[in-house]
Symmetry: none
Subunit: 213 residues, 4 copies
DNA sequence: CATGAATGAGGTTTCATTCAT
DNA sequence: GATGAATGAAACCTCATTCAT
């Protein structure tokens, strides 16, 4: 009990102090986790497999650096979101119209998938398998939901601006997200899949679905 | 090895002899499995939880009736597919045009989800978490892929008939499937979600995305 | 308790009344057990495998006819010993000298092995794996030991008659038995083995080892 | 599957790095396994019993140190063979003639059995119960066969040198081996047995059986 | 007599975590 | 910081036996 609490506190402090720049070990473990999750899926990504991939001699090392499996998974998602954010933001903001921005978002996601297939596969695996019941991940799900809300708001603005037609923006946004994630998931195991082409197709698809008549 | 195979043979024989309605216990276990999978997800649906839900005293009972976890999962999927088939086919075949059939398919799926949320949640959980690496489920994945191919062929026919515009039918079909499954997944844990309304929205969405200009 | 005792009593009575002629079911199960034991060995010969081989639909049938695994195994050994007795006795008694009888015994055992490889493999498997610790089989081991004692007595007589030289008859008898059983064991899995030739070699070997200088 | 393989790799590496003396725990587990196998036999030697004998709190510990039951058994055999090799080789090589060497081999085996009855009982239990069907042990059986072939070659040389008479060296070698193993097996459960005396008897027996007329 | 569902014990393995060094 | 042994829970599976039908 005491050990666990103090340990958790320590890590919390360190994590807060380290801000975005992780310690080398943590980053190494996160990278290994991404690989393993992409390979075998969220639930089969055991500490043993991750440690092996990271070149660590024991799983104790992971428990030492992360406050449990959830903490590691959170870090994986955070890491990939950071990567995606840096990649997508400029590509999206390069456009003015909402339609062009939506297209940039969809195609950007899948271009990113083409470049970092394992990263996107990993985050998709995690998010699809998250459940409300897991304590410690609930707050995390809320964050994801909030991210989605931001994009929903963009859809709404486009509708108010007359650029997009009338539709339920939440349903639309989730459909877009689901379609992208589906391609990502398949890309992880089918190297022959033309991810960028699928991105263009999806962009066309949702362009027709959203654009004013 | 040998025991497992021989056991599978035995069960196969018994299943064949049991005509259409399962042994009763089997059906009860499948029903319990559906509940548990919908609740806690594919990987956390242990024999222990399923046995408890089914009112069985031991997990050995499940191993007795099913040739391992994969066999049980296959039965779950088969059962739900049978339910869905019976529900959807008449609703789809009631329409002539491809567009109307596509709408009937999407809305039908989600009407079904409104009536049997746990059933659809369970099958979605299973299919999302299947990986090619699991021996014994590979052939099963192929079946799923074949089912999808049938629907893709419908899209192609609609295109040739001039009813649908030009698009990649595989990408379209997967997007539709992914959007439906996403709603199904959320419905399992958010009882307040208006699944039928989402169905109409998705039908509208994909109607605009597919229909000829 | 009561059920078990009465059941056991029932079987005891039936067995006693049935004398040497078993009921058809029992014989059928014993035959299947012999096959399975020869195939997979004593410990892996589960009721499930035996029932399958016997064409029975459940293992309950075996428990019904036999008072446990030990009882079945005893019956297997008894059955094979009866077979061997009928085969060997005339062949041995056809000879006068102890040396000729010993040779007839060794060669006869392996001729029998050539004709009924599964039967001999089964009994060897059982006897090799018997341990004193198993209650209910102890008395059975004593019987086996008694059988051996009879043969030892023959060796002793031959020594007193001056036909055999001086040696420890127990050690000799066990060496003979062990050598025969080793061939039997190999024959069960190596169909190419010339069992009869090995029998002649062993007969020569032990002839030289026993005969007076 | 994957986990098991990777785990095996890890252990292989560790074992290689541990020079000659094992990790200590491994040796302790092997020692406990020898005791348990000698007591209850190969198939009844469960991880639970071995862990208890080794003073371990859980069977998981054994799975941690060994890549499954087969790996542990291999280690047991290897350990005993190492012991036997060190004991027998000098005793055998102290003699010139083939006859003397054969006697030294037989008597040496049983002297060793008198000193380490459990060790020899354990290895005999394992080898007798091995079957070709067990994957992972097949290669191991081949090794055993190869060891026997070496000794068979010695018999052949003695025959060519005119020291031994004409006989099938394979049959002879197996008979010797079987006779020794039989004594070993009995010694494990009959502390009153004079193993060394039996050794001398067997040496005499096979001396008469092999020596030129 | 026969069936086959049910039971509970016991088997091996994997897992995340803790802790002494 | 780093290591890897130890732990105990939980997973799936097989087994022999019992029992209602």
């Amino acid at each position: 009990m005491q050990a666990k609490n103090s340990s958790a506190k320590q890590k919390g402090v360190r994590r807060a102090g380290a801000s975005f720049t992780e310690t080398g070990r943590r980053a190494q473990i996160v990278a290994a986790a991404i690989e393993v999750i992409a390979d075998v899926g969220y639930h089969r990504a055991s500490f043993a497999k991750i440690a092996e991939r990271a070149g660590l001699s024991s799983t104790g090392m992971i428990s030492y650096h992360f406050d449990g499996r959830d903490d590691l998974m959170r870090e994986v998602v955070t890491e990939v979101l950071r990567l995606a954010e840096g990649y997508l933001r400029p590509r999206i903001e390069a456009h003015r119209s909402y339609a062009a921005r939506l297209r940039a978002s969809i195609e950007g996601n899948l271009d990113l998938c083409a470049e970092y297939p394992r990263h996107l596969a990993a985050i998709t695996e995690i998010l699809v398998n998250l459940r409300g019941g897991e304590p410690g991940m609930v707050a995390f799900l809320d964050t994801t939901e909030a991210n989605l809300a931001v994009q929903v708001e963009q859809l709404r603005k486009a509708q108010r601006a007359g650029e997009f037609r009338d539709f339920d923006p939440w349903v639309m946004m989730r459909a877009i997200r689901a379609a992208i994630d589906d391609v990502v998931r398949r890309a992880a195991h089918d190297p022959g899949l033309d991810v960028r082409a699928a991105g263009r197709e999806l962009a066309d698809l949702f362009d027709r679905a959203t654009r004013s008549a």
